[in-house]
C-alpha cells in the first residue's frame, strides 16, 4: 500500500538543487511511472540481481526513486540500470541512465526542486543495513544542511567576503 505523503508543502527557497552521488549504490529514477510499476520493477530487479533490499522514495506525483541495499561495482551498477531501462521501455530512465554514465556516478535529488518537494520514503522491502543505511545517513546530513541554509541566506552575509574574484 502506498503511504500518503505528508509535509510535501515545505519547500526550500534556494534555487540550486542538492543531491547524493556515488558509484556503489544501485539507484533508479522512474519518471512518469505509477507506483505499482515502480514496485514491480524494484522487486524484479532485486530478485534477479540479488540486491537484498530496496526503498522507494516519492519525489512528486508519478515520479519515484529506488535505492537498493547491496554494494556493487560501478560496472555492475550500470549493468543493472541498463537491464531495467531496456526491459521496462522507460524512455526517461534510459535518459537518466545515459546521463549517469557520462558523469560516472549516479545522482538522486534530495532537496526540493522548482515546485517539487524533497523525496519521501513510501515503501521499504528487505535488508536496509548496507547502502540504504549510508544513503539515509547522507540524506540526514543534507536535510540538516538544508534546515540551516535559509537562516544563513536571510542573515546579512557580506558577499564580498565570500566571493573572491
Amino acid at each position: 500500500m502506498v503511504l500518503k505523503v505528508h509535509g510535501l508543502t515545505e519547500k526550500w527557497n534556494l534555487k540550486s538543487v542538492i543531491g547524493y552521488t556515488d558509484t556503489e549504490t544501485v539507484k533508479l529514477d522512474f519518471d512518469n511511472t505509477p507506483f505499482k510499476a515502480v514496485r514491480y520493477w524494484a522487486l524484479r530487479t532485486m530478485k534477479w540481481f540479488k540486491l537484498e533490499g530496496f526503498i522507494i522514495l516519492k519525489s512528486s506525483k508519478d515520479n519515484y526513486h529506488v535505492v537498493f541495499d547491496r554494494k556493487v561495482s560501478w560496472a555492475e551498477n550500470m549493468r543493472i540500470v541498463a537491464w531495467v531501462s531496456l526491459l521496462s521501455h522507460n524512455g526517461m530512465l534510459e535518459k537518466w541512465f545515459v546521463m549517469q554514465c557520462i558523469k560516472r556516478g549516479s545522482t538522486l535529488r534530495m532537496s526540493s526542486k522548482e515546485d517539487k518537494p524533497s523525496p519521501r520514503i513510501v515503501f521499504r522491502y528487505g535488508d536496509q543495513d548496507n547502502q540504504i543505511n549510508d544513503f539515509l545517513k547522507y540524506r540526514k546530513i543534507i536535510r540538516n544542511i538544508i534546515k540551516k541554509l535559509p537562516r544563513i541566506s536571510e542573515s546579512s552575509i557580506d558577499r564580498s567576503e565570500l566571493i573572491v574574484a
Partner: protein, 101 residues
C-alpha cells in the same frame, strides 16, 4: 569510491564581453581574432559541484556553493574548496530552471 553531495542547477554568470577584430597576416590572409573587453554580461549557464569529505566541511562547502557558481563540473573535496573557493567558483546567482540530475 567516496560518497558525494552534489549541488547543481542553472545560474546567471557574469562573463566578459568578447569583441572581434581582424588582422592581416604576413601571407595576406585577413584573420579574425577575439579579445576580452572589460565589459561584463550576464549569461545563463549550468554547473555542478560534487563535494566529498567530513560533515562540517560539507556543510560549509554547500553554504559557500550557494553564493559561488561552479566553473563547469567541479569535483572537489569540501576542505579543498573551502581553502580555495576562487579556483572553483565565480560570481553569479542560481535561478529556477528545469534541470536533470
Amino acid at each position: 569510491m567516496t560518497k558525494k553531495i552534489a549541488v547543481y542547477g542553472t545560474f546567471m554568470a557574469k562573463v566578459p564581453v568578447k569583441q572581434r577584430y581582424w588582422k592581416r597576416r604576413r601571407d595576406g590572409i585577413r584573420q579574425r581574432y577575439w579579445k576580452k573587453t572589460t565589459r561584463m554580461k550576464s549569461v545563463e549557464k549550468r554547473g555542478r559541484y560534487e563535494f566529498h569529505g567530513k560533515g562540517k566541511h560539507l556543510y560549509r562547502a554547500v553554504v559557500k556553493a550557494h553564493q559561488l557558481m561552479p566553473k563547469g563540473f567541479v569535483d572537489v573535496s569540501a576542505k579543498e574548496f573551502l581553502e580555495h573557493p576562487e579556483r572553483y567558483g565565480s560570481e553569479g546567482s542560481w535561478i529556477d530552471r528545469k534541470v536533470e540530475s
